[in-house]
Amino acid sequence: MISQFFVLSQRGDHIVFRDYRGEVPKGSAEIFFRKVKFWNDDEAEEAPPVFNVDGVNYIHVKVAGLFFVVTTMVNVSPSLLLELLQRIARVTKDYLGVLNEDSLRKNFILVYELLDEVIDFGYPQTTSTEVLKSYIFNEPIMVDAGRLPPLGPAAMFMQGTKRMPGTAVTKSVVATEPGGKKREEIFVDIIERISVTFSSSGYILTSEIDGTIQMKSYLTGNPEIRLALNEDLSIGRTGSSSYDYRSSSGGGAVILDDCNFHESVHLDSFDIDRTLHLIPPDGEFAVMNYRITQEFKPPFRVTALIEEAGPSRAEVLLKIRADFSANVTANTIVVQMPVPSYTMRASFELEAGAVGQTTDFKEGSRRIEWNLKKIVGGSEHTLRAKLTFSQESHGNLTKEAGPVNMNFTIPMYNTSKLQVRYLQIAKKSKTYNPYRWVRYVTQANSYVARL
């Protein structure tokens, strides 16, 4: 039972505020904001998504720099509310095309309209963009997507890949295009977030892939879709431990530890031919989420060294090798390494002929940062840094620095080898041939090399 729903900007302004039950005392949004801003001042900790102040429970998610918050007085399921908040954000995005402070402010009346249908008297009603369409009368006011700074996942398809229509992910599901006709198209994105930890000697300590097959449909008339995955896909690892690595990565078979599916997916023939049947609802949704701990070839090898070079000096050597084919390019790579707290200065030496690389010493957080615009498959890059300390280092430098963390996005690359073999759309007529986009991307979730 939800008492209130509100969206706050980063500065704490109300963007929308809806009270469903009139039971929470006034000022809850301010109480919430103060609590989140000053959660634990000394230790700079982030506020947890769920907390209780004076008997009022505040549950929030952060989306596009905004706080989506509900309050409740009763002991409800936190997951339900968190899922609901994410879903509200997603439905809003379906309507507005782009979700950010600007678009929300422009469309707050539409958001109120949505909220009226999504929650009634604190009870979740429907969050299906499809169903909501019949009850929403406001037209979204579009913000100019071109002028916006690229945001998170929306940005990752916009760079360097001309095959992708850049506006696709920022198009509203309901708004009609200038031509008055909607383009029939469907996007299927296979997004994999990978986590790898390398030991100091370069061994892989842990590795995991969290993948999502995400769909966004602009098809009219809800045609049925068949989505075929690798035939040799298997689910559930045998053996008691889910981590008993066997050197079978060359085998080719994709083994998922586990997966889950969207409501609309029917698995009748999944066991036979690994095909998913569904009638995609309008808007964006995850068809399937999966998790893999089977060993895989990590896209980057990272080596990091720190050595003493004199009484109060040290030298750092960072090396990255791109272990993927040359027709794939990774972009927006950031490599960070914490350095000893008594580091005063750092001077960098990039490799000869380096293009699109920058370096920085972040004094406040005591770490060095190395940014690379792109890395082509098969290439190798190194960075040398000389550190100057304010005192003599005592003992073990490797315990004082590191671990190295890396962030990157690799479009058109998927680590798990999970493939969409084909995407079939039930034909309404012979001329019906909607655009289909199947796109792969791999992102770093936690890519760490220890010293």
Binding site: G12, V50, N52, V61, E83, F108, E113, S242, P281
Partner: protein, 894 residues
């Protein structure tokens, strides 16, 4: 800084001035537009309405424009209507007389041809929250529940709950709950879905339907075929059913305290026909409604194992749902259903592991957090079942600190012989982490694992390595741990002391770490060569030591050192005592004085006091009782799991809404989630004995109870002087009832409360249950009673009998009240006419703050009594009930 309302307003609409002039301006414009028939009037109105709502959002009071808004509301533009409804809904409560103006157009809209308009109007009508407009609500609601459009029915169902909150009597008099129930079980749109959804997937659902349901199904199809346009209609149909459930749950739970009938009605929600009816349709509900159904099912008590397996097989695929809320709700059903089947329960754990881990990886950090909290609960309950999954709980670089903390606790819990090496190695990596709070937690985790006795040897080595890292917070944390380790494993003192002795106390600033170091200096001064001199230098800096904790430790350490190495420490001791005696901190001063006098009296005695032979600590106290943990487990998939507290500790009923609109405050209304608690409490009782993973504490409780030895025994002497002397004059009844318990029983501090007439604070944590003795003079005012009755879950509900003589002599309530009073059970309210009497009793456990509350309905004709017991301490409810019944059965015999 959180912005105040005006600044928020400015940023919300930067181009507009804020405050009063703005409102006046808006009023002016609205007035101009009110009668306008200009072609673009609606567009202009939209603009002005938008600005009004923008101000409202920013927190500016725009209620002054109410009249003007209503004037402008006569429009056919739906967008305008919606904005107007939103405005009216927010402000009507504060302007009841003006709200009357809106009734007219809302009522008219309730009869509109367009179902969307009908629905909207009905929703807004019910959201006005104005008590004196109730008469206008009832008839549109009753019509709405029978509306041909599912959308309108869906809104009407919630509307019924809204009406109940404005006026319960109006809702009940119109017999809306009955209408809701009928709708819930036979909503036409919910029925036809089965046939409209493609894929013969749902065929099996149809097949399981009972014959008459099939009939209804076909009937529903005939009636509603024209409205069943698209597949998605079904979702709305399902929502009608879901909203009926929401409304009925809310109404009946609140009503249950007043009427027996409602209490029975709520039972029917959990009855087999309803549960199976809903389960068979679960896939036709939206994911949110599925959660509701699953929550309901988790309250259902199947009659046999086959039913349990049927339900679990039916719900098996819900574990593969992408929505974490559905998965967790399903898991709750599985866990609760299998409580009595140890091996199946364990299989459930194995089964749910993978889906939970997938959810942790799939969603946003917030979503994973909630799932991880539940995983945390399960890990803490059955660590050994997760011991091979330890790598899943390694911290990731991108994890927020609230996630990392949970993971560290889980890693600590699942460490065993086989994985300790890997876990500790991983934890040691975090110890050098840039994230200092996490580094600290990691070190603590290493220490806790060491205290669990796995691989202590290697861990001690690593802890000592931490000391060499030369980071202050690492050293401080490690020192605290080494101290605890030494208290448990004195045999390691030699290795540890060698390293600890090298640490300069000047480098440690944190009081806890410093205190730990000083403790070790005192405790092991015989092994540390320069201990007396280090202590001496610390004493010299007494003035600069800000923490009283450190100074207290210093006092004791110097004393210990003195007894071990007198000649070297004598000077230091003198200086310490002098410094201590002139210390401004009361505790430090008192301890110094105490030591001083002790030494004056007899140094030998002082040595026995300060330096007695010590036994190694075997187990450090657990912070949470197993009872609380079980309670949290019962509340799986709720905020209790995230807060790691049972719900009674954080749901503050003072602020609860239900009373707000309720006119009849004297009734014993009950919180909305009471049903949940009721059932879980019962379940808790049942499952008590067969918990797969119950901790040993429980056995301790049991033995304590059976021995009949009670903590209050020790308090007997205090009675002699205490005001409870009075109560000891009538001991015979209690001793008869409860022969194992001491006769003179009361605790002085509570008796004192009695004297002063103070309310006793509510128990924060239920104490373990010894044999039950009751406080002879408990004090509970009616207000507190009512509050408690609302807060507490039903522990027991039983029927018992009176003696025929007793039944015959019960001519008025007073006689029974007096009788029960003699048994230390007090009456707070009573009433009724022969043959039915209703009593509310209360009693308090002796020496504890825990109260027992009883509702007792006596029928003198049948000599039967129906009792409902609620208790602060649920474990003692059974014992209390026995005592109560025994007292009741003796009524009329003496």
């Amino acid at each position: 800084m959180a912005p105040t309302a005006p600044t928020a307003a400015k940023s919300a609409s930067p181009s507009q001035p804020s405050g009063k002039s703005e409102v006046a301006d808006l009023k002016q414009q609205l007035r101009q537009l009110a009668g306008s028939r200009a072609p673009d009037a609606d567009d202009q109105r939209r603009d002005v309405f938008k600005r009004v709502i923008s101000c409202m959002t920013a927190g500016i009071d725009v209620s002054a424009a109410f009249g003007e808004m209503v004037l402008c509301s006569a429009t056919s533009d739906v967008v305008l209507k919606k904005m107007c409804y939103l405005y009216v809904g927010v402000h009507a409560r504060n302007h009841p007389d003006l709200a009357l103006l809106t009734i007219n157009f809302l009522q008219r809209d309730c009869h509109d041809q367009d179902p969307t308009i009908r629905g909207l109007a009905l929703r807004s009508l019910c959201s006005l929250r104005v008590p004196n407009l109730v008469e206008y609500l009832v008839s549109p609601l009753a019509t709405g529940l029978k509306d041909p459009s599912a959308y309108v029915r869906m809104i009407a169902a919630v509307g019924a709950a809204k009406l109940y909150h404005i006026s319960a009597t109006a809702c009940l008099d119109a017999d809306l709950p009955a209408a809701l129930k009928a709708l819930m079980l036979s909503d036409p749109d919910a029925q036809i879905i089965v046939l409209t959804i493609p894929f013969n997937y749902h065929r099996k659902v149809y097949d399981i339907c009972s014959a008459d349901l099939k009939l209804e199904l076909v009937f529903g199809l005939l009636v509603c075929w024209p409205t069943a346009g698209s597949l998605f209609k079904s979702v709305i149909g399902g929502q009608v059913v879901a909203n009926c459930m929401h409304a009925l749950q809310e109404i009946w739970t609140l009503e249950a305290a007043k009427s027996e009938e409602a209490a029975r009605e709520i039972e029917t929600l959990y009855s087999k026909p309803v549960v199976f009816y809903l389960l068979n349709r679960i896939k036709e509900f939206s994911e949110w409604a599925q959660c509701l159904v699953l929550e309901l099912v988790s309250n259902f008590l199947p009659s046999d194992n086959n039913e349990i397996f049927d339900i679990m097989n039916l719900l098996e695929d819900r574990l593969q749902h992408a929505n974490g809320a559905v998965v967790l709700a399903t898991i709750k059903v599985f866990l609760h259903l299998t409580m009595s089947m140890t091996d199946v329960h364990q299989q459930v754990y194995e089964r749910i592991k993978a889906p939970l881990l997938t959810l942790v990886g799939a969603g946003s950090p917030e979503q994973s957090y909630s799932v991880l909290c539940h995983l945390h609960l399960l890990v803490m309950r059955a660590p050994m079942l997760f011991s091979s999954d330890y790598k899943s709980f390694y911290c990731q670089f991108s994890d927020p600190s609230y996630v990392k903390k949970l993971k560290l606790e889980m890693l600590t819990a699942i460490a065993n012989e086989s994985n300790t090496y890997e876990i500790v190695t991983e934890l040691c990596e975090y110890a050098g982490n840039v994230d200092v709070p996490i580094a600290r937690e990691s070190i603590r985790a290493v220490g806790k694992i060491a205290l669990q006795q796995y691989d202590v040897n290697a861990i001690v080595d690593r802890l000592l390595q931490f000391l060499e890292m030369d980071k202050e917070y690492v050293t401080a944390e490690t020192l605290v741990l080494v101290k605890d380790l030494l208290r448990k494993y004195p045999q390691w003192s030699h290795d540890c002391i060698a390293v600890v002795g090298n640490i300069s106390s000047k480098n440690i600033q944190e009081p806890k770490g410093k205190a730990a170091l000083i403790w070790m200096l005192g405790e092991y001064s015989q092994d540390m060569h320069d201990a007396p001199y280090i202590l001496e230098s610390l004493v010299e800096n007494w003035e600069e030591e800000h923490s009283p904790e450190v100074r207290l430790h210093l006092l004791t350490a110097v004393m210990k050192c003195f007894f071990k190495r007198p000649p070297e420490t004598q000077m230091a001791l003198g200086a310490t005592l002098t410094a201590g005696l002139s210390d401004t901190h009361q505790d430090v001063h008192d301890r110094a004085l105490f030591y001083y006098r002790l030494l004056q009296y007899d140094p030998a005695v002082a040595e026995r006091v300060v330096n007695p032979p010590k036994q190694a600590v075997s187990v450090f106290a657990d912070t949470q009782s197993s009872e609380i943990k079980d309670r949290i487990f019962d509340e799986f998939n709720s905020l209790s799991v995230v807060y790691q507290k049972p719900s009674y500790m954080f749901t503050d009923k003072e602020h609860r809404g239900p009373f707000e609109y309720s006119e009849d405050l004297t009734n014993l209304a009950v919180g909305a989630e009471m049903t949940e608690n009721t059932i879980s409490a019962q379940r808790y009782q049942e499952s008590d004995n067969d918990l797969l993973l119950s901790t040993s504490d429980k056995e301790d409780n049991a033995t304590a109870t059976s021995n009949g030895s009670s903590a209050s025994t020790y308090n007997a002497p205090s009675d002699l002087s205490g005001p409870s002397l009075l109560s000891s004059q009538i001991p015979s009844e209690t001793s008869l009832i409860n022969p194992g318990a001491p006769t003179y029983s009361s605790q002085s501090n509570f008796s004192l409360d009695d004297l002063l007439g103070l309310g006793v604070p509510q128990a924060s944590a239920p104490p373990p249950a010894p044999a039950l003795t009751l406080n002879s003079k408990p004090v509970l005012d009616p207000g507190t009673f009512q509050k408690k009755w609302g807060q507490l879950a039903l522990s027991l509900s039983q029927e018992c009998s009176l003696s025929p003589q007793g039944a015959a002599s019960l001519m008025n309530p007073q006689s029974l009240i007096r009788h029960m009073q003699n048994n230390y059970i007090q009456c707070i309210a009573s009433g009724g006419q022969p043959p039915n009497y209703k009593f509310f009793f209360y009693a308090q456990k002796d020496g504890a703050t825990a109260f027992f509350l009883v509702e007792c309905i006596v029928n003198t004709a049948s000599a039967k009594a129906q009792i409902k017991v609620k208790a602060d301490d649920g474990t003692a409810a059974e014992a209390f009930s026995t005592l109560f019944q025994s007292a009741l059965s003796k009524f009329g015999l003496s």
